[in-house]
Amino acid sequence: MSRRELLVRLVWGCRAVLGLVMLVPGMAFLLSPLKKSGRGTSFDALARMSELKVGEPRAFAVLKDLRDGWVKYPREPIGSVWLIRQPDGVDPPVVALTAECPHLGCAVNLAADGKSFLCPCHNSIFSLAGKPENTVSPRPMDPLDVQITSGPDPEIRVKFERFRPQADRRIPLA
């Protein structure tokens, strides 16, 4: 190898060092959002049984400490849940459906007649049990786990989760 060739190789070596020093940490930095958030899910009290009437869905806000980047917002509404009380004797006594539409994530509303759910964005329609009644949404509204405390006026506690939009199965987001 001639001296000139050696020098050229060394030039490329230096360029590679500088390139890698920028590229590797830079990529890692930009890929940080893929890091697991470690956000735990827990059951939160949303309502009391006495606030619900059989067959009349009501929406409740889920209040949680929210960590937005570096800021901590204490008890922020992070989502909304439809609670539907079932007739006596039916188990579970309360069904919880997240208001986030399985189609593209808009907030699902109750239709004007109160007999079905309607998503305003692309007109998905769901029955009060969450079954799709047209073909817009790929899956039913997402049910959430419910715990009901004992006592004269039990508390309804719901585990709030998010699911991947557009999927035809319920896939929890980590």
Binding site: R4, L7, V8, L10, V11, C14, R15, V17, L18, V21, M22, V24, P25, G26, A28, F29, L30, L31, S32, K35, D65, R67, G69, W70, V71, K72, Y73
Partner: protein, 590 residues
Amino acid sequence: MLKSLTDWIDDRTGYRSLLAWARDFPAPGGVGWRHALGPAFAIVFVLEAITGLLLMVAYSPSSSTAWGSVFHIEHALWMGWFIRGVHYFAGQAMVILIGLVLLQMVVTGAYRQPREFRWWLGLGLLFLTIALSRTGHLLPWDQEGYWSTKIETNIVAGIPVVGPYLQRLIVGGDDYGNATITRFHAAHVVVLPTLLGVCLAATIVLVRRRRTVTDEIARTEAFWPEQALKNLVVAVVVVVGSIIASLALGGAGLDAPADPSSGEFPARPDWYFIWLFHLLRTLPSDLRLVATLVVPGAIVSLLFLLPLLDRLLPKKLAHGLACAVVLAILGGVGYLTYGSLRADAADAHFREALAEADQTSDRATALAADLETGVPPEGSTYLLRQDPLWRGRGVLERKCLGCHVAEGKGKGEQTASDLAQFGSREWIGGLLENPSSKRYFGATAGAGGMAEWKRASKLKPEELSLVADFVATFAVVPDDVTPDDWLSTKEIADHPGLPLFQKECGTCHVVDGLSEGGTRDAPELFGWGSPRWISRMVRKPGAADRYGFLEPKHQMPAFPAEQLTRGDLDMVIRYLRGDYFKTAPAAKAH
């Protein structure tokens, strides 16, 4: 395959001739390390642009969010501390590199005609680099950046007539805040780098222009590959040095969030301005102008006029004089900087303040990192302002320790009790054992009631301890509970200390529904040590249910809301009760 692809691209774009133009030109003045400084400066500038762009992805320029976003970069994002560390240290290295380039130009006479413009562009690059470093220093909005900006812009304000206006323009108003950050940000990420890029491009054009290199052209060697390698080696050394510095010092460092109300932050300007700061603090105040205007003005003008000396003086003499001038400036700057560092090292007060600042920033880091606390939505300044440990202790020291003490330490003559652990089982237990200790009522004029009781009391140690247990339960009485509610809870009703309390304490101390008092004046004890009780004690110490029975001159002065805000009172109370975020002695992040 690859060859035919590059052939095709070359055919359509002609990029090879461009590369050849960039490489195959004769290096003016020959190949050498001293010619590598300038190109290395340019390479490092490109790396700064890349790391800067990365940081911009995660940085949020406002006084409430800047610190938090930088904290997030440092502690939450992958390699964030590394990228910020390299950006910071390589930026400092750029100041040194361009300084060396200029020095080299002076020593070798390269500043002289026909290369005046290269010298002036070099000076422009120096000032732009310093301005970049300076504006960047403020962006994290931490104590260090905040206070050093304040010092430096106050030096600017000392310039006669225009100074105050200039300062307002730089700061964006009267106060340092959002407007300061937005304009420093714009300057740092767009304006200054663009100007620097233009100066660099102009320099490169001039370097390649034959006219300006006539006296060097005799000795030319090919730039490629020898000089290219030297340039890159210097750049690699700078970058590796920055990485080592980041690793050794844990990154660029982030102080506690900026707080304009924080008492004494030991602020110093950036290292390249320390000499000016030292000059200003050593000169008598009527000579201030020397430091703010005369000296910097003279240096800048001298440097700019340096190439023109040739027109006045013989060539050799002019060069010698230029070298002497620059050496004198460097000597003076070095001497003043050294003087400043020595003065600081000898200043015990300064070192103490530094140590305190370090503790504050550790606390801020711990609070921001914890999921329970985090940066509050009001902004990073409130991270510490809403921390009972930090804020509560500060308020206690300022407002209470003139008379009280905490763990034996006060700020004046002790005329009241020791507030450390006030409200705890330990405190009340100690009081019942020895009320006339200085920790309790020993130093408090007129409050001899407990001591009198102690002399007469025949309680056995176990019984005393039960009474203390009972009284300590007062501290956890919630705000909305009445004495009735509380007395009917099972644990309280069955408490073995209750009958003893009733018999021993109840003769003087009133507790609704439990004891009548009356034998002697004494404060009401229901909820003693709870936020509600302490709050009333602070607001209305002269009330009938507190110490209204003392002679006015012996009473604690009241602290109404004008003197002690609701928030500050809460902070003190939570601090006294130990109700704050406690750090596990965990290893530092990274």
